[in-house]
Symmetry: C2
Subunit: 373 residues, 2 copies
């Protein structure tokens, strides 16, 4: 495993800091030249968002918009953007602090004037700033609440904030799993014996796999997504795939919402189209598929109207055009039934490790051979 | 710190197992004596739930109900209860597995007949079983999803399931916090340098306190409640208070919902009135109080109709009869405003550790001296 001399965390921090300072410098220089300052960013509206076949993710197009301080309609968002940029550089990155979206909103209340009328306004400006510097808010230390967890034989290193020295931890340490927060997402990967990553939608199933030693059984790092994976977790999954060459499997509920959790990990979301580094295009969906539900005769619920509408939407979505996804979505529509991943428990508590996962790995290998994935 | 020879986890497991077996034996003996089997449990309806001034928690009264296999209306819940008891003893406690409420519901699908028509039915029977044996479902290995976390200088020990040997971890290990799951809740406390516990409602504030080294600054173990604290977390808080004699402070949003999060930790909930060992009667509310909101002129939201109704309910609640709680609830009603704990960020990112918490500890000491808490 190759390691650069600098920590992953330091490299990111420096890049973000430099880009924020460059933005400030640009505005400053325009002012010094007695011009109204302005800056540009990619347009984030749906007319400028498309699925890029080469990048295999949603991305933004060529259209750009300008924020010009000489335009009275632009003045407020112009100032708001500079406030967030300055807060991120000076109050977060420089002293090494993190904050939440909510913290940032409240912090603006201490500014001379009330900067934002509500949090949706400050959230939106934070996304603008992401688009301007082309980096995620996590890179300038604005994090959502941590809620997903990881377990498995992976040793990571990070700098202890108090002592300044490096520490290593191995993520089998606590059987309840390690929280994926700012520290873990940006840690350096030191070593692993695992040869794959399995991402799991529900906490119950994650705990089941940890208890049944699925990490050893399948040589896997286990990640609990806690529903739609937070962006920090999607970043970590991408890094495990990219830096350690680990194939990523995503194990979700057998319904359109579960498939979509998989797909956002693989191909990203429209809301984060202005960012790269969050997707894992080669991630593999490992069910529950509609075929699994039939094959194992699992306890099901009926599709609701919402489930049906959603499945038809996915069928047309550019991210769902592989033959395999199309086939399974069509089967769901025919079956009109869904099943949670925990429904596998109806066979026995160990069925998922004894039968389901080994079978699924075999099936995936065959699909890959046949070029169907 | 005194330590018994047996692990905390083993003692609990054995107690629960013996009580479940005793229930089974009772039914078996009745059958052998050619009687319709029956068992009893405390009635859990509101007419039998009251606030016990001595225990300082909600508890169940003397009324008991019978489940009698000779009564056709009792037959289904009778069998359901025995199914859950047998599952807990044989499939969970004996092999050392845990499961979720959902797992249990699905597991029943593998029984000869469909045992439960939906999960609310199986959840309800699990609560019955708690009442019958007087122990919490966590004691017979049925856990909710883990979502709260802990950080601070506390060393705990637990048995490694794979090697069978004891392991110690110190909970300052990962700055993102340790998940409070089945392992941690039942671990043995080995040592701590902390002299108090601070429980925190929101993830943003928890992360802030960890970053600002509040654990060292205030010599505290920090616990993220993630809203209304899960029962495992309430158990852990009680154990920290009881076994280590650590005073417990609860830091929540300044609104009736926040105060109630505090109060459930202190005095329990009606839903868990049939259980002991989950409450910490001496836990101290550390705001945000209505007075804090005025004193620091914090950014607020207006009280909704629901907030007002809720506050009037709390004023009449037997758990809210201390002069201090009454006074602050009345102030909230007068103020008609609420503030999140993160609103303290509006002063500065470090205001909470530099000003708010030191002031609050002083204030609490004075209130205690004056006998007002």
């Amino acid at each position: 495993m190759s390691r650069s001399k600098k920590d992953h965390a330091e490299i990111i921090k420096q890049q973000a800091f430099e880009k924020l300072v460059a933005l400030g410098r640009q505005v400053y220089e325009q002012l010094m030249n007695e011009r109204y300052p302005e800056f540009e960013m990619p347009m984030r509206s749906s007319s400028n968002i498309y699925y890029d076949e080469t990048m295999r993710q949603y991305t933004v197009g060529e259209k750009r918009i300008k924020r010009h301080a000489g335009n009275v309609r632009h003045l407020k968002p112009f100032l708001q953007t500079l406030f967030v940029a300055s807060f991120a550089a000076r109050d977060l990155l420089e002293p090494g602090r993190t904050s939440t979206l909510r913290d940032l909103y409240y912090s603006s209340e201490s500014a001379m004037a009330k900067m934002f009328s509500d949090q949706s306004e400050s959230d939106n400006i934070i996304t603008d700033l992401e688009a301007i510097i082309g980096m995620a808010r996590e890179d300038f230390n604005i994090f959502p609440d941590a809620r997903s967890t990881i377990f498995g034989d992976l040793t990571v290193a990070f700098r202890d904030k108090k002592t300044g020295s490096k520490r290593e931890i191995t993520l089998t340490f606590n059987p309840d799993g390690q929280t994926i927060g700012p520290t873990l997402v940006r840690s350096d990967f030191v070593k692993t014996s695992a040869d794959k990553v399995i991402c799991i939608e529900s906490g119950g199933m994650f705990q089941r796999l940890v208890e049944e030693n699925a990490d050893e059984e399948f040589n896997a790092i286990l990640i609990h997504l806690a529903g739609q994976a937070p962006r920090g977790t999607r970043r970590l999954i991408r890094r495990l795939n990219e830096e350690l060459n680990l194939p990523v499997y995503v194990f979700v509920d057998g319904d359109p919402w579960g498939v979509h959790i998989y797909n956002v990990i693989a191909s990203g979301s429209a809301a984060a189209a202005h960012l790269v580094g969050l997707t894992t295009p080669d991630a593999i969906w490992m069910g529950l598929t509609a075929s699994d539900i039939m094959k194992y005769d699992l306890p099901t619920d009926h599709f609701t109207k919402g489930d049906i509408t959603r499945t038809f939407q996915l069928l047309k979505d550019p991210r769902y055009q592989t033959p395999y996804l199309q086939q399974e979505l069509r089967k769901f529509i025919k079956l009109k039934k869904k099943a949670e991943q925990q429904s596998l428990t109806s066979k026995s508590l160990t069925f998922v490790v004894d039968e389901y996962l080994p079978e699924k790995f075999k099936e995936i290998k065959e699909l890959q051979k046949a070029g169907k994935l």
